[in-house]
């Protein structure tokens, strides 16, 4: 019984590859299956190659799947660009358009994969039967739907949802195309090809991208103001909020640059709003000065970084986890902040909520480190899980009797958090700045004041580290071996843990959602009994490994690093190998 399948579709910009992928993902979700879709584009803005990789399963899945079971290509030329990213499973089924006459020996698929090639008349059916050559992706959809036993109804529903209202004729043609494709499979599929998903799904699921989940989470957290400047792969957050936030009477401003984006959000927050900005690496570099101002002036601020491969412009459309150092220490001075890392699409929603919770409660900047892999992929999501964690988001305001002449904006308190008067509050007038200051906010250049106020600001950190729910553990709780990971590598790590367990190893994975300040006690708890560990990450410089060494006192003495440059997401096999490499040694020792 086939429980899951990994599909890949490659084509040119005009081929509708991504649309086809979206429909498959949506229909799988409607059937209650779990799905995970990754898009990839060539450098061309339009008309270049693109590919969609979709994993569908009856059981929860956490990664893109290392190997492709079914590949569908419209042209070998386009596919060529993705050989770096698509590895076929042995005996994979390869559907290709019969009009591409490249001899199969010349096709960029290694012979040892023993792929089963099937020529399909995608274009021909669309052109000849429907007179709509563009509908070839819908023919493909029908072929795949039938091949995998996806409910054709759900596929058609997805089509109707997208085109039904606005372009009914397009919808009709597409539906015909789906039928044509399905019919072709019934008639022509060679024997022995069995990728029919036999599984029954659970209840219908939502499908969303990480970026949309994050923006949605921000709305759920009550965001009032968003200012941003477009950048790949963070723009969809701006676009989602530009569309939806005005309906909630919030405001969105696309600014002239990132300096304006982050300062405008800070100004809005100072004036009482829940405010956020989002960008990727290059934008974050520009925002560092203001993040420091937020820390110094103690103004809540949520800053999203959807990381991409760097340094500099790097690879805008590819993922990486190498902005961790910057998030933790990119600002000049000793500048308190919070760094949160979502690890899947659902997390993007929840972390947005947590970010507002912490920013408002502790009056400091909160950086969310998402990444391209998290932000742009689509995943099935459970509605109830999304809303499961509730946080009371509140800024500490001064009591009536704290206002007036003696109001001290930076009053030293036990938890380091001082009641904040919001402009408009009578008797709360005060002056703030990025200068070091006394409790009243008056500038001071005294070293003593600087030390005292540094302590005051730092007091918040241990409290934040104690906030609950920020460390996740997967696998065998008593294992002597752990994989430490953060963010989007979680999926592959989690599956690798399962694979390693199946191989008889006693392993677990530890994935903190809060990176700075480190939730030390929860980590201690999670690491209990661990003798060896490997830190897995997508950063050439092994930033997480080094960061843990710098900040965490109880790292197992035998802690290793598996780190590589980003670009392609980390694979289950890679993690498994990293586990085996270091687990083995233990057995030897």
């Amino acid at each position: 019984m086939q429980q899951e399948v990994v599909l890949a579709i490659a084509g040119s910009g005009g081929d509708g590859v991504i649309t086809a992928g979206d429909f498959i993902t949506k229909s799988a979700a409607r059937k209650g299956l779990f799905a995970f879709m990754l898009k990839s584009y060539g450098p061309q803005i339009r008309g270049g190659e693109s590919s969609a990789r979709i994993r569908v399963s009856a059981k929860p899945i956490y990664s893109q799947g290392d190997f492709v079971d079914v590949l569908a290509v419209f042209s070998w030329k386009d596919y060529k660009r993705f050989t770096d990213e698509i590895e076929l499973r042995e005996n994979a089924v390869v559907l290709y358009d019969e009009s591409d006459k490249t001899p199969l020996e010349a096709v960029p698929i290694p012979p040892e994969k023993n792929a089963r090639f099937i020529a399909v008349p995608f274009k021909k059916l669309a052109s000849e039967e429907l007179k709509v050559p563009l509908a070839k992706n819908m023919v493909l959809l029908g072929v795949l739907g039938e091949l995998l036993n996806l409910p054709l109804d759900a596929l058609k529903d997805a089509v109707m949802q997208k085109f039904g209202k606005k372009r009914p004729e397009a919808a009709a043609v597409n539906i015909q195309a789906i039928d044509l494709g399905a019919e072709w499979v019934k008639q022509n599929l060679p024997e022995g090809i069995a990728y029919r998903l036999e599984a029954e799904g659970g209840s219908p699921k939502l499908v969303m991208t990480g970026n949309d989940a994050l923006a949605f989470g921000a709305i759920h957290a009550g965001i009032d103001f968003f200012s941003g400047y477009p950048i790949t792969p963070a723009s969809p957050i701006l676009e989602f909020l530009a569309r939806e936030l005005p309906r909630f009477k919030g405001a969105v401003v696309q600014t002239e640059d990132e300096l304006a984006a982050v300062t405008m959000a800070l100004g809005a927050s100072w004036a009482g709003a829940r405010a956020m900005t989002a960008s990727s690496g290059p934008g974050l570099s520009l925002k560092q000065e203001t993040i420091g101002l937020s820390a110094m002036a103690e103004i809540p601020l949520v800053v999203v970084n959807v990381q991409r491969a760097g340094p500099s412009t790097g690879i805008p459309s590819k993922t990486e986890q190498a902005d961790l150092f910057q998030a933790v220490g990119g600002t000049h001075g000793d500048s308190p902040r919070v760094v949160l890392a979502p690890a899947d699409v659902e997390d993007n929603f929840q972390v947005a909520v947590e970010a507002f919770y912490l920013a408002e409660k502790y009056q400091l900047p909160v950086i969310i480190l998402s990444d391209q892999f998290l932000g742009e992929r689509s995943e099935t999501v459970d509605e109830e899980v999304l809303f499961a964690r509730e946080r009371k988001i509140e800024r500490k305001l001064p009591a009536e009797d704290e206002l007036g002449e003696d109001y001290a904006r930076y009053k030293i308190t036990e938890d380091g958090v001082s009641p904040m008067a919001i402009p408009g509050m009578k008797g709360g007038q005060h002056y703030i700045s990025g200068l070091e200051h006394t409790e009243k906010g008056w500038p001071s250049s005294s070293g003593t004041v600087h030390q005292v106020m540094s302590e005051k600001r730092a007091k918040k950190l241990p409290l934040i580290a104690e906030e609950s729910g920020f460390v996740r553990v997967y696998g065998d709780k008593d294992a002597p071996f752990a994989v430490l990971a953060w963010g989007s590598t979680k999926g592959a790590v989690r599956e690798a843990i399962e694979a390693a367990q199946k191989k008889g190893m006693k392993v677990k994975a530890i994935v903190p959602q809060l990176l700075y300040p480190l939730p030390e006690r929860a980590l201690d708890e999670a690491l209990k009994g661990v003798e060896r560990a490997v830190v897995v990450e997508l950063s050439f410089g092994a930033q997480f490994y080094r960061y843990l060494r710098a900040y965490y006192d109880n790292l197992p003495e035998k802690t290793y690093s598996y780190a590589r440059a980003g670009g392609n997401p980390i694979q289950v096999q890679e993690v498994l190998k990293a586990i085996e490499d270091h687990y083995e040694k233990e057995v030897e020792a």
Partner: protein, 290 residues
Amino acid sequence: MEKVKLTAKDYKTKIPIVWCPGCGDFGVLSAIHQAVADLQIPPEKLGVVSGIGCSSRIAGYINAYGFNAIHGRPLPIATGAKVANPELTMLVAGGDGDGYSIGTNHFVHTIRRNPDLTYIVMDNRIYGLTKGQVSPTTPTGDVTKTTPLGNPERPLNPLALALELGATYIAQGFSGNVKHLKELIKEGIQHKGFALINVLSPCVTFRGKQEYDYVRDHGVYLDDVDHDPSDWNAAHEVTQWMLTKNQVPLGVIYKVEGKKTLADEINEVQEKARAKKIYKDVRELIEQFR
């Protein structure tokens, strides 16, 4: 007539003032104190955002919500604050370096967006706080710490720039004439939309006392000549006086009402968006993901 309750004194604070004796910024401070008193703006409804510079310290000397932020960024900060809290009267203050050098990008695009802010630039034609380097408004030929042989560059004309960019209230004041300046500030506050008030506010320490004399000797009050501030071309000519006639125009150079503000735009967008669809509960957003 309503009884006047607040006086200029009520807008002072106790923070020690760090300006040099004789600094022009004292005059600007007085003018602001008097202007907001005249307008009876409740201190708690007054926001003052500034950048960094001697001039920017002013945010601490006004009984208001004062934010002496970072260099060059007071305009976007104030824009965000005004959008978030439209009831506030929002003053923005800074120096020529803050506004016309590091902050120029925001200057340009803030004018384009037209938020309801009153921007007071204390233009001393030098970097005061950092002790005397050339600024974008330093006259050609002047010796400063970074132009020891004379400034080779041509100064920027912020008034002309603002006019070209579509600003709808542009005035120039002189810190040596507090009464006049006060009126400009009041008018700027009452103007709906972005108001620029460039104030010649001499830095006695790094530009010497002659800067006062220069403005006194070359200042021409627009009220005294036949200037129509609603006439763009006339206004443009006035912005060129320093070059063409060696005269310093003082007063309202350009003013028109009725241009959409950023708040108007945001309201419009919200209304349009809500006309299409209103969510009663955040959870309804979920529909698009099914």
